[in-house]
Subunit: 383 residues, 4 copies
């Protein structure tokens, strides 16, 4: 149990700056009270999540949403708040030029613009000290024949190579894949195989990031995790949960058992280290933002604790013996354990309140920002 | 062939006013040139679609997007353009009050407001002479436990009953179902069974509308069509096509064979009449709007022509004989026929250009609206 | 807690006779040791499940697999073993005549034969005292056009009406639906809506049975449960679990959270009574049969216990207040509770061993049947 | 058109020996008249398909189903019938030893046995002159925890390496992937990415084979085809079609537009050569076998003809111009063309009847085999 607590204490979950801003569906963005109006306020909110959970010390930025004049100042601001800058997320999907693609666009001018943005993100990594660039491309096509599937791969490869070459010592990029949306007929990086194949060719600084909401129905995500770890190509996670498509709900809310299985494969595959980034990528469309993030961090933590509890010796023995029910039971024993008392204890040992949700709720922070953050433009997807 | 031509000549496909405005995904709405700025301009664009296809004589309105002071004037404007007002579409999903639902909201005040909007839509039907109200509810929940699934059905039933009672002579409403989006865990009318059960209880003025993009993967839509026709409960279609979710692409673009099978069941089930409304409900996110609608109308027309070509006597004989391959071949013979020459001929008989896409492209209409419609706010989802 | 224990003590889960025989996929049936060779031996195995769990007192039969000369004798045998005969399951899918359908077959002779079988099943209900007939039809078509979708509904309705009329006092039938398999293009009862519509027309003795593995990806099963309970049309469950299709794995093995949500809706909707039959319908292709059933009964029991633990007053208050995270948290608190100690305690109060799996494993029963049941034909799907 | 005809004349589609035997689902195998009883009779039936289509000159074997004492004699027999032996398909899923896996089984003895079978298949390639080994593994697990996902990859890699090393000059193997069935929780080669990664490591003699029925819902298969061709790793196809799962219906029956798109990517990617094997892998559960194969071959041929008709210069110009509707229209023009007259003409130029289905039906072959093939054991899956 000491080992488990030590492991849990060392866990690091990164929250995304955009989770603190407004978000919604194509039908409606519902505004909330107290939403940040700039990157500084987003960091302040993220610092709250860390203050109550103790395991969310970094914040991912999204460029250009989090563009500032002075990144060193922003990084300093973060440090003052007790957090740090995490991954830099590029954005090549919200400019009118990108209607038919960014790095895979048929027009070389648009591709140049998109690649330049990616290179600029590396500059921001240099300025902020971030070591990770996250690349998600909305590129794809809506209609069969609209563009040439293979030529788009050539263009993608060319842009990725240029960005790869620009990466400095200790820097890497994570390539994200997504089955569909916003492109509907074909996306240019639809699955882990595509991302993997590109990363293998590029080299060790290119790795795959698994967004748990980006798969076809029926996909076994933990298999992908196990496989990528075996290949040394798992760079990290964008955690969230989904019932149908890329719903971007709180991680663990739709299928907590799946989250547990994923965390088990991470641990079994040696991925429970700093080499694999555990990031949240969620939209709190209807629930309050900061509590939504706190709950999500706790959900990952609970799944991790359960995965750490698996009796791996017993599991391995049952597996070797071909004892189907016995092996399954070992896993389920860990999953069925209520780890909340253990985590409450751990938090107290870390000097935190045992119940982060309750502690935040009674802290007065929400009332403060609701009162203060009036006027100005609320941050949201695209701002 | 004369019969088939007569049937095709009588076909009526309704285009939606919102298809002429800008649309997009949650990631980005790409603006296009020449997009209408008010309902009057939308009707003008819709009239173009009818002018070139000859079978799109009505336009669906969306309230409040198409709210005007004087609906009689709008209807007159439509008539002057050679088209008429079709179904009235309600909208209870774009007000901040509806964050947790409209007619199923836990708060009675919000439910009242939503139902009042629906009743107002019936007023607009009276004012415009529309006989059809289309009800789609974005209502649902994102998280297990968020609200009570059954209580929401009670509230839904109550609101529907009030609207039903308000319907006048010759008026009806169509209840739409949708698997998910914008609610992710549960929607309050997720499938045809739910819509059907409510409609059966209400009576003959309540019918189900099938949006072809609103089903789970693997759903056999033509079965639903056949079943609802058998029950007298198929009120109409919202046509579009999808590869993954509710993609709202041009109908027939993703699976033209499916569209043909649907049209075959419509005809076989006696639904190829004015009682079943054939409506488009699409978003042209990246392609130009008017040509997108023309192509869509043509796609439905081609599928209809093929379905009319099915040799039903031969089909029935093969089915009765248990001749699996023979029966399938009868259907496929019709599907594999190139009906474009027949339709070109029909158009010429109707005094139209044989190729609507080409005729529109060279008409100069787009250049005209691109030049004229500068300034003002472009219409879009939500406006 | 006393109430919860009382409720759990009253729970009744029915195991299926066919779960004790061999089963497999289309690729291979793997034989196991000690498998029963006749219905008497199946009942003996089922009695073991009841002996160790205390809540599995009835056994479903499958006709003709469980055909015997003297059903009264079989029922007596069951009673002697401490169990009773549960639902009678019809089988109109394993005769060469049914290649193109049974009650929906284009040939009236085959339909007659199929309906006669269903009527015979009611005779067996009379003979065994069973009050429930379960109707699953493999009927459907593989190719578009193969048969007429609507005519098949007419035939189905005709057969169901005949069977309905034959039902005696206190008897009912449950109509099962299934998305696909063994028919691939269309099944004649593909979804709950179809089953529901037929049952509503027939009357109160016709109800819908929900097999948890028979839905399209993304279907919210607990919504269906809630809806059918609201309509008084939920007759029972065929429990099992699935990752992809109709995998027929142990219930709760694939998504224990979903099982919990289903049980919550059952309880909330007043379905936790004898009116709703809780049946297992599973195939233990690779795991041993009796332990597979014991584990499954325990999984349902654990989900039930958690569902009973939900603080419904707190839940309702949070729902009414629109507190999304709070309401979700109430549900999750119950789900995250480890109910195994409670259930162990309950079993001891019932005079049972606290750990049914361990108790069975050390009982020597398996060794006994493995030694005794040598020679003869092992029972399996189709025998 | 001359070029297109020349290309179509050169097309080669391989039919599988097992398609001529009985097949079914886990629920029932329906026996048909005239079904072959040994590999010699299967080849005779396959020769009929070639005789009427002119483009099905080879037959895939399945070991041990098609085991004979003298493969040279079997090959001679094939030649006498006008056909040749195609790919050798291994079978490591129908022995009781393989209940928990074959090459990935936890027990080294079983793995040895499975690998030995694969090596024996290479011996049979030597004996028959076949140059292609097709590897499909049913390996996987049904329950989380049942076995170690990663260890199974290690075992798979080890076995594949041994088989790879055994391949002679001019021989290759094709590795097949499959999402699920008969394993339900995880399969050991679930997707193209897994197959690809193994093949890349092994070298040029290892390639991926795409079974069109083995994907998750929503997967864009033609993207995979385009990607694998770009990487030089597309070895061939197992063609069939599906509505839901691995239905193994006639290719082109469920989604002819998808088949066309696949063939378009094959041609565009330079894969329309002898390097890519076009094989059928289907089960004619309810339709007659030989006509089922003839129809399937024709379906692939029709899709190919349409794909060859695509005006690639016009397509490329529209794509470069960002003309979404124009580019889509170029593709659809080809798809909407009725190619049956062209193919009838081609057949007559090849000395064949213009309508293969009709020609076979009136040939008397079926009546002959139905009369002759009485007694003995009909071939089927597993025999």
């Amino acid at each position: 149990m000491t080992d488990i607590k030590a492991a849990l204490r060392a866990q690091r979950i990164e929250t995304p700056s955009w989770a603190y801003g407004n978000s919604g569906t194509r039908f409606k963005v519902f505004a909330q009270q107290g939403v940040p109006r700039d990157p500084y306020e987003k960091l302040a909110d993220a610092a709250q999540v860390h203050a109550y959970t103790g395991i969310a010390p970094t914040v991912a930025l999204h460029i250009p949403w989090d563009k500032v004049d002075d990144y060193a100042d922003l990084a300093r601001h973060a440090r003052d708040l007790g957090v740090g800058i995490g991954a830099i997320n590029s954005n090549v999907f919200q400019d009118d030029d990108y209607k038919l693609g960014s790095v895979t666009h048929p027009d070389a001018r648009v591709r140049r613009k998109a690649t330049d943005h990616l290179l600029e993100c590396v500059d921001i990594m240099d300025a902020t000290g971030s070591d990770t660039l996250k690349l998600w491309f909305s590129d794809g096509i809506n209609y069969p024949g609209q563009d040439d599937l293979r030529a788009r791969q050539d263009r993608l490869a060319e842009s990725l190579a240029e960005v790869y070459d620009r990466l400095g010592e200790g820097q890497r990029f994570l390539l994200e894949y997504k089955l569909f949306e916003p492109a509907f007929y074909a996306t240019d990086v639809p699955d882990w195989g595509t991302a993997y194949a590109h990363c293998v060719k590029l080299g060790p600084k290119a790795q795959v990031v698994v967004d748990t909401g980006h798969h076809a129905p029926g996909t076994n995500i933990e298999f992908i995790v196990a496989f990528l770890l075996r290949e040394g190509k798992l760079g990290g996670f964008d955690f969230n949960s989904r019932f149908y498509a890329d719903d971007d709900l709180m991680v663990g809310a739709a299928d907590p058992f799946q989250l547990f299985r994923i965390m088990y494969e991470v641990i079994r595959g040696g991925g429970f280290t700093d080499e694999v980034a555990f990031m949240l990528d969620q939209c709190h469309n209807i629930e309050p933002k900061i509590p939504g993030q706190i709950r999500s961090v706790m959900n990952v933590q609970e799944a991790t604790a359960k995965a750490l509890l698996v009796d791996r010796a017993a599991l391995s023995a049952a597996q070797q013996a071909g004892d189907v029910l016995g092996a399954n039971a070992v896993l389920m024993d860990a999953y069925n354990t209520d780890v909340r008392p253990l985590l409450a204890e751990l938090r107290e040992e870390m000097g935190l309140a045992p119940d982060p949700m309750a502690a935040y709720a009674t802290s007065g922070y929400f009332e403060k920002i609701a009162a203060e953050r009036v006027g100005g433009n609320q941050a949201g997807w695209g701002a």
